[in-house]
């Protein structure tokens, strides 16, 4: 009964590849018979490129998209590098979904503040898509998204045009420094969040990005009087199994691959700070 | 042994406490007793209370020099107790630019060789309760009585063919030197292996290495393994795979041995650390023997000023390209 082997990937095919930034590509992946599996925003999947191996990536498409899974992948390691080298039509391995996903029930009826940086938009985008598809279940949506440079912003046109056009939605883009072709906001994401002075009342803030950005976003939100339960983030760890057994991604007795990667700040505060 | 032991520990303690408590060193690397009387483990002493735990007995096998790699990041000046092999290990690190001489004070301990618990058990025919040492003899107390044995027969393998029991480098020598020892059997096993046919030898190593767990204790204990990132862990290229296959076993052990060519100080810590008793020292000694035969006698770690044979070119080196 090998189909029950949790480590066994299934076959999938790359539909197409979009170059987002110099080091980020978005892969659209489909299983043998359509969607490889159902999932919730914030969940991840293991992609394999033999003989290089497997690595875990967050799913960036919304579960409401039923054609394929999307992964925005930054070229930082062996597997991501190998994925970057592939062509559309190439078959790969996939298994999942892994992780807990975002706490959608808890978010319902609230205003939602998304704070993303660089590749950190990947998991948030899945949830943003979900929120737009279930627009009536959520209040006002604010999206703050930044990157080092305009070239490092992913999904630029989608963020600027489609998202900004959604009802009751505000989009704030920023880049770290001045660039000739950029006439938007300039400054680090955490500072922008402080400037925008979001009110904590009835609001849930979700943030994802490089560790240093998250650190300062959390400080900014704290200053804005967000309580730890209102702040949600996702963690990244090295993972091999995705099912809480291989022993890498634990924080105390909690496994990020299984019990995470989404944690509210109060949950995180109760765990050893080993991430 | 008890009394003599107390006396010598006191002497060591006296020597180091002045320096540690007087602030000449920030940390002393020594030994303390482990869970059992036959175990002495590393001690990181910073206070008088720490020094109370100091041990110097027949079980201080752990090489302390290697800890300098980490401790010198946190301390300006570190004192280390060094046996013959530990001192050569220090020279090894010195030659590899891993330590700076002026950051370290070495307290030299001429070493009579360390005892092997398993040999005690073997000799005593059961779990020994206690030992007493006297004039090269060891009296082992067991439940049913006493057993006497020659100390030399109870030594750890790594100490059996030790040629230089005295520290080659020190700032202060704490006991009178033992003198260079004549070793006769150092290359005996290597010679036996050399006698084998290539197939036999391959079979021998395939079997011995098949036990390897890839725990890397040999590497971690080794004073010549000082790379920041071992080839084993490198991703690009991926030299070493994790599969427990003969090819991967050979890859690890042979490459590691080659990295020690002309650098291995023959301290035997690799073999002592191996949980499945792979005769790693035979690999190292084969290379030591080859170096000696090809480039003249060379004892790594003895003199840090002497240029390592593989880093020096001499016109009469064998197999020079220009020779007929």
């Amino acid at each position: 009964m090998s189909s029950a082997n949790v480590l066994m990937p299934q076959q999938a095919t790359i539909l197409d590849i979009t170059e987002e930034t110099p080091d980020i590509k978005t892969l659209r992946v489909v299983g043998k018979e359509g969607m490889p599996f159902d999932f919730m925003p914030g969940q991840c999947a293991m992609l394999s490129v033999p003989p290089v191996g497997e690595a875990i990536f967050s799913i960036t498409s919304s579960p409401t998209c039923r054609e394929c899974l999307e992964f925005s992948i930054k070229d930082v390691g062996n597997v991501s590098g190998a994925l970057h080298g592939l062509q559309p039509g190439q078959q790969i391995g996939i298994r999942g979904p892994y992780g807990n996903g975002f706490p959608i029930e808890k978010m319902k009826g609230k205003d939602i503040l998304f704070i993303g940086g660089g590749i950190g938009l990947a998991p948030l985008r899945s949830l943003i898509g979900y929120c737009f598809a279930h627009r009536e279940e959520f209040g006002h949506i604010d999206i703050v998204y930044g990157a080092r440079s305009p070239a490092d912003l992913i999904r630029k046109s989608e963020v600027r045009e489609s998202w900004a056009a959604e009802p009751d939605t505000s989009v704030y883009l920023t880049v770290d420094a001045e660039f000739p072709d950029w006439n938007g906001h300039v400054g680090f994401v955490p500072n922008y969040v402080s400037e925008l002075a979001f009110k904590p009342e009835g609001r849930i803030a979700l943030t994802c990005g490089p560790p240093i950005m998250i650190k300062f976003v959390l400080q900014a939100l704290d200053k804005l009087q967000f309580s730890p339960e209102q702040v949600i983030t996702t963690l990244e760890m090295r993972m091999k199994c995705g099912v809480g057994k291989c022993g890498r991604c634990n924080l105390g007795s909690v496994y990020v691959c299984k019990d995470g990667p989404v944690f509210s700040l109060d949950e995180l505060n109760a765990l050893p700070s080993e991430y | 042994m008890a009394e003599r032991n107390v006396e010598s520990v006191n002497k060591v303690r006296e020597a180091v406490s002045q320096d540690l408590l007087g602030g000449r060193i920030d940390l002393l690397l020594g030994w303390e007793k482990g869970h059992y009387w036959w175990q002495s483990r590393p001690l990181f002493a910073r206070s008088e209370a720490d020094l109370e735990k100091l041990a110097w007995d027949s079980f201080c096998a752990v090489n302390l020099s290697r800890y300098l790699l980490e401790e010198l990041k946190d301390h300006d000046k570190v004192g280390v107790l060094v046996k013959g092999c530990d001192a050569r290990a220090f020279n090894r690190l010195l030659q590899d630019n891993m330590v700076r001489r002026e950051q370290v004070i070495l307290y030299g301990l001429p070493c009579p060789g360390m005892l092997d618990y398993n040999r005690l058990v073997e000799k005593a025919g059961g779990a020994p309760l206690e030992i007493t040492e006297e004039n090269g003899r060891v009296i082992i107390k067991v439940g049913s009585g006493e057993q006497e044995a020659q100390r030399d027969d109870l030594l750890l393998d790594k100490c059996k063919d030790c040629r230089y029991p005295d520290p080659a480098v020190y700032d202060q020598l704490l006991f009178s030197p033992q003198g260079e020892k004549e070793v006769t059997e150092r290359f005996k096993t290597v010679e036996e292996l050399e006698e084998m046919s290539a197939e036999e030898r391959f079979g021998y190593w395939e079997k011995e290495l098949s036990r390897c767990l890839r725990c890397y204790a040999c590497r971690q204990a080794c004073p010549f393994c000082s790379c920041r990132e071992c080839f084993v862990e490198q991703e690009n290229p991926r030299w070493q795979g994790r599969a427990y296959q003969p090819s991967e076993n050979f890859m690890f052990h042979l490459v590691r041995a080659y990295h020690g060519t002309g650098r291995c100080i023959d301290c035997g810590e690799c073999e002592r650390s191996c949980p499945v008793d792979i005769p790693l020292q035979e690999l190292n000694r084969k290379l030591i023997k080859d170096i000696n035969e090809l480039y003249g006698d060379y004892e790594a770690g003895l003199d840090p000023e002497q240029e390592p044979p593989l880093l020096t070119y001499r016109p009469d080196d064998p197999a020079a390209f220009s020779e007929k």
């Binding site: 080298g85 592939l86 062509q87 | 990041k73 030659q95 590899d96 630019n97 891993m98 000082s226 790379c227 920041r228 990132e229 071992c230 080839f231 490198q234 690009n236 290229p237 991926r238 030299w239 990295h259 240029e307 880093l311 020096t312 016109p315 390209f321 220009s322 020779e323 007929k324």
Partner: protein, 661 residues
């Protein structure tokens, strides 16, 4: 995935005769990343290069693999073809399926899979190739010539005439070398000194030439265009500026030593110039025999010297200078024939070597130009010349032919007849070799007009008997034993490399053959170049040579040096080593092993806990690095990569061969 094109060359039948080209092309199509494969009869031809250039453009190739001869032959050709199509030349990879495959195999069944494996490896490596840029380097417009014999003088004059500064380093007190020791030259019988000394003077007076006599090269660092050389100018104990060359000092000097110039056949003073026409005409004091230096008293030369040029306190001086090119012209030595006990050399004053006999003819030589026996001062009536002493002798001497002996023996026999008309010469030879313009005629003249008896055969023993030397040999044509009662025996001792050639080669960074003659880069096409860019060789330091050959080679070397010096910038090595400093543990074994002193320690700062930790790591100077890769293989942690041959590229090649389906 790269887009790789594979191109396979038939090389006529050189490759196609042993490798199934069609199969190889077919197999190449299935290599990972290969989108195009083609073949051609002669890929290095213009047509062949066009095929590559076109295919790159048409198929949008970003990697090229050529299956051809050794990259040493045509890598540049194909790189240029790739560059013409707009591709970085370093994205091209050569699979050597000729020298490494077709030439060493006979069986097509075996050679074809091997060619495929080599191509597969090259494609795997090419996939990881990166675009590289060769640095552009400055050229120091000055040349160094090591050796002041005829080769060095000629090379220096040619370079100087082209308008570049040249320094000649000569270890003896005067330039001139071996040619200065010769009496006459074959086949024209010009007086050697008469044709050499004008060149010596010209060199000394040339505004672009700087003579550094009594000097030796201590150290050569750097690389083509920028060699940094340390030259030790040995103390002469004579101030060359004050000295007028009047000669009073050596006239008055009371102590003597054997004269090197006279091959030890006569003595010179302790303060001396080696020969009468020496350039510069500035004496040196030989410390080993000088009374003052040995015993602290004498000082006659100092007292007698009119311009007070003697300076006992003089020290060796180190000159440091940068050169763009170096010509090595250090000449040859003569084999010491004492190893052949049967010839009795060294045991009787009338058994001489060719070079020693040469001095006997010379007017300023040990006998004042009178051809007489050294034993009794009487002219020799019967002289036996023995050829191939140490040459063409596989067992005890050198395998090679010393090339000049047949001719100088003929010359000496002729000269002997002129000086001692009733003398009779006998020549024992293996073959008489007279390749060269007018050489055969000259030798004939000796045999036919000067009463020289040529005997094909070998001499087994020479021993003195009464007042003559008995030479016993066999005439191999008639198989008769021969015994000649000779007055003098001249041994044509082999021409050998200088004793210090291996050391100099190492110092300069050029290699030599098994006899320590310096190696040319290619025996036919690069006869004066060495494998080290910017270093050229001329004269008998490369192989035995006569004067015309030496001079032509010197001019050739000069032209190469001039070509180099005339460049504004040089293209440096693109494939240099680089240190991954985050992984480097700083053991600096690479520094010890680097032959180009291109690696130096450097201190870097790293984050450690909450602070900063300083540590030492290695750094490569890409201008000095020649891409030899020694450091990369020495580095245990793989923290050094050679660009173009990085660890993962090599591993990709190995994997492609080992893991082949």
């Amino acid at each position: 995935m790269p887009r790789t094109g594979v191109f396979i060359c038939h090389c006529g039948t050189n490759i196609a005769g042993t490798v199934d080209i069609d199969k190889t092309v077919e197999a190449s199509r299935n290599f990972p990343g290969v989108v195009h494969a083609d073949e051609y009869r002669y890929l290095c031809s213009e047509m062949g290069q066009d095929i590559i250039t076109k295919a790159i453009k048409e198929n949008d190739l970003d990697r090229v693999v050529v299956g051809t001869c050794s990259p040493r032959m045509h890598e540049n050709t194909f790189r240029k073809a790739a560059a013409e199509a707009g591709l970085n030349p370093y994205l091209l990879e050569v699979a050597n399926i000729r020298e490494h495959c077709s030439w060493v195999h006979k069986d097509m069944e075996e050679a074809t899979p091997k060619a495929i494996a080599l191509l597969r490896a090259a494609a795997a490596k090419a996939a990881l190739n990166e675009a590289l840029e060769a640095p552009r380097l400055d050229v120091e417009k000055r040349a160094l010539v090591i050796g002041g014999g005829i080769a060095g003088i000629q090379a220096a004059l040619d370079i100087a005439e082209a308008g570049y500064e040249v320094d000649i380093v000569e270890k003896d007190p005067s330039i001139g070398g071996r040619m200065a020791q010769l009496e006459k030259t074959f086949p024209t019988l010009d007086c050697s000194a008469c044709i050499l000394t004008p060149k010596m003077v010209e060199a000394a007076q040339h505004p672009n030439i700087n003579l550094l006599t009594y000097s030796e090269v201590d150290e050569v660092k750097g690389f083509v265009g920028q060699f940094d050389v340390k030259i030790r100018q040995k103390a002469r104990y004579v101030d060359p500026v004050k000295c007028t060359g009047c000669g009073i000092c050596w006239e008055k000097c009371p102590s003597k030593a054997p004269s090197e110039f006279e091959m030890g056949l006569s003595k010179r003073k302790s303060i001396y110039v080696p020969f009468a026409q020496a350039v510069p005409m500035v004496p040196v004091i030989d410390r080993d025999s000088c009374l003052y230096f040995r015993k602290g008293r004498c000082q006659i030369c100092e007292k007698e010297c009119p311009p007070q040029a003697i300076d006992y306190e003089q020290q060796d001086e180190i000159i440091e200078r940068r050169y763009g090119a170096i010509v090595v012209a250090t000449g040859f030595d003569q084999l010491d024939p004492t190893i052949y006990g049967e010839y009795g050399y060294g045991q009787h004053p009338d058994i001489l070597t060719g070079l020693e006999f040469e001095r006997i003819f010379n007017a300023s030589g040990p006998t004042g130009g009178k051809v007489v026996k050294l034993s009794d001062g009487k002219p020799p009536k019967k002289v036996v010349f023995i050829q191939c002493i140490g040459s063409r002798d596989k067992a005890r001497g050198m395998n090679y032919c010393s090339k000049i002996c047949c001719m100088y023996t003929a010359k000496q026999a002729i000269l002997l007849k002129e000086k001692v008309p009733d003398a009779k010469s006998y020549v024992f030879y293996i073959d008489v070799r007279t390749g060269g313009k007018g050489y055969e005629e000259f030798q004939r003249r000796a045999a036919e007009e000067h009463d020289v008896a040529y005997m094909r055969g070998q001499v087994g023993k020479i021993f003195p008997e009464d007042d003559h030397l008995v030479v016993r040999g066999i005439d191999s044509l008639t198989n008769r034993n021969i015994e000649i009662k000779a007055d003098m025996v001249v041994l044509a001792a082999a021409t050998v490399a200088r004793g210090d050639a291996p050391e100099l080669g190492r110092l300069v960074g050029i290699n030599s053959d098994s006899y320590h003659f310096f190696n040319e880069a290619h025996p036919k096409l690069k006869p004066v170049e060495t494998h080290t860019a910017g270093i050229f060789i001329a004269g008998a330091c490369q192989a035995p040579k006569d004067i015309p050959e030496t001079v032509s080679q010197a001019s050739a070397a000069a032209v190469k040096a001039i070509g180099l010096l005339s460049k504004e910038k040089l293209q440096g090595e693109a494939c240099t080593a680089e240190v991954i400093q985050s992984d480097c543990s700083g053991c600096l074994n690479c520094e010890a092993i680097c032959p180009y002193t291109a690696i130096t320690p450097v201190e870097i700062e790293e984050r450690y806990k909450d602070g900063v930790l300083k540590r030492t790591v290695a750094e490569v100077n890409p201008a000095l690095c020649q891409g030899c890769g020694s450091c990369a293989v020495t580095c245990r942690s793989g923290s050094i990569n050679l660009k173009g041959f990085s660890n993962d590229q090599i591993m990709a090649e190995v994997d492609a061969i080992c893991l082949q389906r």
